[in-house]
């Protein structure tokens, strides 16, 4: 059975509107050093789970940081558009999602925060790295 992280990646890569931009460059916790931009890195930041008196298993609430990176070139700053495009696609896809995710199911997904940032390279061109960071809340039982 796939983990929630694997299912998130499967969902990220499920449509061509995203894979046309990032290929298969979405990983949890690690990132291939040879990967070019744009790419997506995600990690689980915390998990909580209520425990009633009888210790009946309840749904888990996990929080994920999903970061989307892209980079412009000296001549073309389209990298910024790639980051924003992917972030907007994922936010719209995940906000209020319930049901199938990859090969699993989720009870609910909420994008709790979305920050955009730009890491200036100081080269005078447009080579800065553009970052969109989503904080994702997922309710799930597996």
């Amino acid at each position: 059975m796939a983990s929630l992280g694997e299912n998130l990646i499967a969902d990220i890569l499920a449509t061509t509107e995203v894979t046309d931009l990032i290929g298969d460059r979405a990983q949890q916790n690690t990132q291939n050093v040879t990967d070019v931009l744009p790419r997506i890195w995600l990690t689980r930041s915390s998990v909580t789970q209520e425990v009633p008196m009888d210790a009946t298993v309840t749904p888990r609430q996990s929080f994920w940081d999903v970061e989307i990176y892209s980079q412009g070139t000296e001549e073309n700053d389209s990298g910024l558009d790639d980051t924003l495009t992917i972030a907007d696609i994922l936010r719209a896809r995940w906000q209020g999602k319930r049901g199938t995710l990859g090969t699993g199911t989720v009870k609910g997904m909420f994008v709790q925060d979305h920050d955009d940032d730009y890491l200036f390279q100081g080269t005078g061109g447009a080579e800065g790295v553009h970052v969109a960071a989503l904080q994702l809340e997922v309710w799930h039982t597996t």
Partner: protein, 144 residues
Amino acid sequence: MPIGEIGLGAVLKMSTTVGSTATMIGSIGIRSVNGPDGSADVLDITTLDSTTGIFRQKKKGLVDPSQVTLDMIYSSTDASQISYATAYASSGAADFFLFLPDSTLAPSQWTGFVTGMGRAVAVGDLISRAVTIDVTGDPGFETT
């Protein structure tokens, strides 16, 4: 020796046949059991010839066993939670037994009526259920 227990492992059971444990059913999904938290009436028996100076004289009156409230994680299919809804729709009394974790004592036992049922549905949280039990008679605190 340290004292103190946490609520994990406590069990609340209900029997809708008062005086019998044959139909006793345990509850699942309880976050907390609050009460009974009753209080006694206090009667002022100060008179003109009281000899207590400026201090009033008092006497303990009747004790209201008050209520027990349950905060539960909602289940639409669990038999124990359905039994609370059934008891709420009924005018009959039920017996309740609270077994504390790691206790060798007999459970706290009281008789009561399910007089309140609540449900909270929030978009980003577990659905919860609240139950109010009005206690009649001895609220069943351990005295031995």
